[in-house]
């Protein structure tokens, strides 16, 4: 009894080992794969990454076809339509009623069309503000860590201050002063997100700048900016990408929060936060579809980005190589099984092609 598992495992191992050696040969023949390309290859082998990408693509598709959706259904995302959008008693339609797939809101607007338009705002704000925060945070973190001294003291304290700020309050004040708008919302979110990236980049820069390759760069006459952005930056791109991916859902939720509080993008614009806020005034209708569908949209988007962020982190982390090696082995074994049944394996070569 105690012997048989060994026998089974060794028997199962034999073909796998042959396969992995082949895979190794294939990898060796590809010259100079950059760490990022390796990570991308690992990301492609991650099933959860595909699920996450699917969720994000669903939302991107929804955002792209929003005008199409509006013109097909003939439902405007902005204008209240109490004639077509509500029943004879002035009550909103539920999901599936009168040609409204997800129902209408309290002034008769199509919730599906509004969610599609809301996806545009959410993705725009989420990605644009994260991009701004990432670029700004990376640049300031690099400068802070590389120069040190009073520049570092100043920037590091600034990051601490931003991170410890009650940002919702600050956003409310800013919106009250300048009036809520899309650029302001993006700016506010970017301003309160850059410090998280800046701090990580600063720490990484502090460790990287002591490496000998930085000294080598100085000895060939490279300037400070070249050292920072050409030599050090590629070495901390991995944490920046991971953190950036994980900042997108935070920014989207932040934007929805601001809209919900009425200090983000103004009410006529359909955003998920605005739609959730509408629900407050509609509690009497018992219209669950007011908040359920925008919430689901928000959930799918943030979950998608969070899952993608996790996968990206796994793909970029060299310590998870064993996990991926195991997966590759499994996949190779599965391919072997399939090919021994079919007699040929054209798939194996096709997968590795760049």
């Amino acid at each position: 009894m105690s012997l048989s598992p060994f026998e089974v495992s060794s028997a199962a191992l034999a073909p796998e080992e042959g396969q992995s050696a082949e895979a190794l040969d294939a990898a060796g023949s590809i010259e100079g794969r950059s760490p990022l390309r390796l990570a991308l290859a690992r990301l492609r082998s991650d099933r959860m990454a595909w699920v996450a990408a699917g969720m994000i693509l669903l939302m991107v598709a929804l955002a792209l076809i929003a005008p199409l959706l509006s013109s097909i259904t003939g439902h405007s995302p902005y204008n209240p339509d109490l004639v077509n959008g509500t029943d004879t008693f002035g009550q909103p339609y539920g999901p599936g009623q009168a040609g409204f797939l997800l129902g209408t809101d309290n002034v008769g607007r199509d919730i599906l069309v509004r969610i599609a338009y809301g996806a545009r705002i959410s993705l725009l704000v989420g990605i644009l503000s994260t991009l701004l925060a990432t670029v700004g945070g990376t640049a300031l973190g690099l400068i802070s860590g590389y120069y040190g001294g009073w520049i570092d003291a100043l920037l590091a304290r600034l990051m601490d201050a931003v991170l410890s700020f009650p940002y919702v309050l600050a956003a409310i004040v800013l919106a009250a002063v300048f009036g809520g708008s899309l650029p302001l919302t993006i700016g506010v979110i970017a301003f309160f997100s850059w410090a998280a990236i800046g701090r990580i980049v600063r720490g990484q820069t502090l460790s990287q700048k002591e490496k000998e390759y930085v000294e080598a760069a100085r000895s060939i006459g490279a300037g400070s900016f070249r050292i920072m952005f050409v030599d050090i930056l590629p070495n901390l791109i991995a944490p920046v990408i991971v953190l950036g991916t994980l900042l997108v859902p935070v920014a989207i939720v932040f934007e929805a929060t601001l809209d919900y509080l009425g200090v983000g993008v103004g009410p006529p614009t359909p955003t998920w936060g605005n739609m959730l806020a509408d629900d407050q005034g509609s509690a009497g209708f018992g219209a669950w579809w007011f908040w359920v569908f925008p919430s689901i949209a928000l959930l799918i988007t943030t979950l998608g980005f969070n899952l993608l962020g996790d996968s990206v982190r796994d793909a970029l982390d060299p310590r998870t190589e064993r996990l991926f090696a195991m997966r590759r082995k499994k996949a190779a074994a599965a391919r072997l099984d399939a090919s021994s049944g079919a007699g040929a394996e054209p798939l194996g070569g096709g997968m590795e092609a760049p």
Partner: protein, 383 residues
């Protein structure tokens, strides 16, 4: 080989090295260079509580086409001196004159033009190459920074360099992690060579490599010296390597040069007890010689460079130490019977043929003598 300057080679099997200077002026003059690293304490207001005296008044000259070997124990300030020469560290005091120009006080911008002619090869072939950049761009960096070549021309020059140092030019787009230690050091050599410098400071270029690979890199460096008329400052702690590559050798101990002279002379008849001890400690490949040779064993550790010993810095470990050694610092001077270029900083230089008794009793006897003369030094010895 494009060597036209010196038809005389110092040793038969070596490629011709330019023993005589092209011009009278040395390529590199180091005058009284001092480098102290401050030690700071405190959370808000950092105050200096002391300093590591890494290099303490070093002067030397390197002529065109020659190789100056720099040897000494770990922590004696060799690498710091190298970084002072290439101005990777600012100097505490002293001057570095490169080809007639004092570069020790130049700003970073002014320095850039001089960097073209003065390059460095680093010890660690892993740390000194950026892991995230392709070999082509690492070697091409100097060309890009100084605007020497762009685009296709840069690629062509880089591939030429790769060929010169014995790398496959087709590996242009690979990453450093895809190369072995020796190949990586070749990449470092190619990078240093890219701007066709006059001086290359080699900071222990082979100490991180396998012995068989060491020989390849040393031979490569010697070939390149003939081909590109290079001058080397060659730092190492492997005496056999230094003896092989150097025309002249300087021995450092605790931030100071204790002896300097022609390789054959210095290795043949060392005058400083420290040099003698170093030489006796190196391995001899010939077992008969090894058996007959007498080892001078030094006891104790190198004293702290934060608080170096008074007088001659070697007196705490010297088998020949006398009371005067702890009081008066001996200057570097030509000792009686030595050639003009052979200088030693010692009150009681080793007489050729003398057997140094570098044993514990000698040291403790000397220590007792010091203890009587100056109590604080005796204490340091015991500690």
């Amino acid at each position: 080989m494009a060597d036209t300057t010196a038809p005389v080679s110092p040793a038969g099997d070596e490629p011709p090295l330019t023993a005589a200077p092209v011009e009278d002026r040395p390529l590199l003059q180091v005058e009284n260079v001092v480098k102290h690293f401050p030690i700071k304490r405190g959370i808000f207001f950092k105050r200096q509580i002391g300093s590591v005296q890494a290099v303490e008044g070093v002067s030397l000259e390197v002529c065109r086409g020659e190789t100056l070997g720099l040897v000494g124990e770990t922590g004696c300030g060799k690498s710091t001196l190298a970084r002072c020469i290439t101005r990777l560290h600012p100097l505490t005091s002293g001057r570095v004159i490169f080809d007639g120009v004092d570069i020790s006080r130049l700003s970073a911008r002014q320095l850039r033009t001089h960097r073209r002619r003065m390059q460095m090869i680093f010890q660690d072939p892993f740390g000194s190459l950026n892991p995230r950049r392709r070999v082509g761009s690492i070697i091409g960096d100097p060309l890009a920074i100084h605007g020497v070549a762009d685009g296709g021309e840069r690629k062509r020059q880089v591939q030429e360099l790769m060929e010169v140092v014995g790398l496959n030019p087709e590996h242009y787009n690979r990453f450093p992690s895809e190369f072995s230690g020796g190949q990586r050091q070749r990449i470092g050599v190619a990078r240093a060579l890219a701007l066709r410098p006059s001086l290359i400071v080699c900071d222990e270029p082979v100490s991180a490599l396998d012995v068989s690979v060491q020989a390849q890199i040393i031979n490569l460096l010697e070939d390149l010296q003939g081909e590109f008329n290079l001058t080397y400052v060659f730092i190492a702690h492997d005496l056999a390597v230094v003896e092989h590559v150097s025309d002249r050798v300087a021995v450092m101990y605790l931030g100071k040069i204790v002896e300097m002279g022609g390789t054959a002379e210095l290795f043949g008849s060392p005058r400083h007890p420290y040099t003698a001890a170093l030489l006796s400690a190196s391995m001899v490949a010939d077992p008969d010689k090894a058996r007959s040779s007498h080892r001078v064993v030094l006891y104790g550790d190198v004293p702290s460079p934060i608080n170096p010993p008074s007088g001659c810095r070697f007196h705490t470990r010297c088998p020949k130490a006398q009371p005067i050694c702890s009081v008066e610092e001996p200057p570097l001077r030509v000792q009686a019977g030595d050639a003009a270029g052979h200088v030693t900083a010692c009150h009681f230089p080793v007489v050729p043929g003398e057997q140094l008794v570098g044993t514990a009793p000698a040291i403790s006897a000397a220590a007792t003598a010091f203890a009587a003369a100056s109590p604080e030094i005796g204490e340091e010895d015991r500690a």
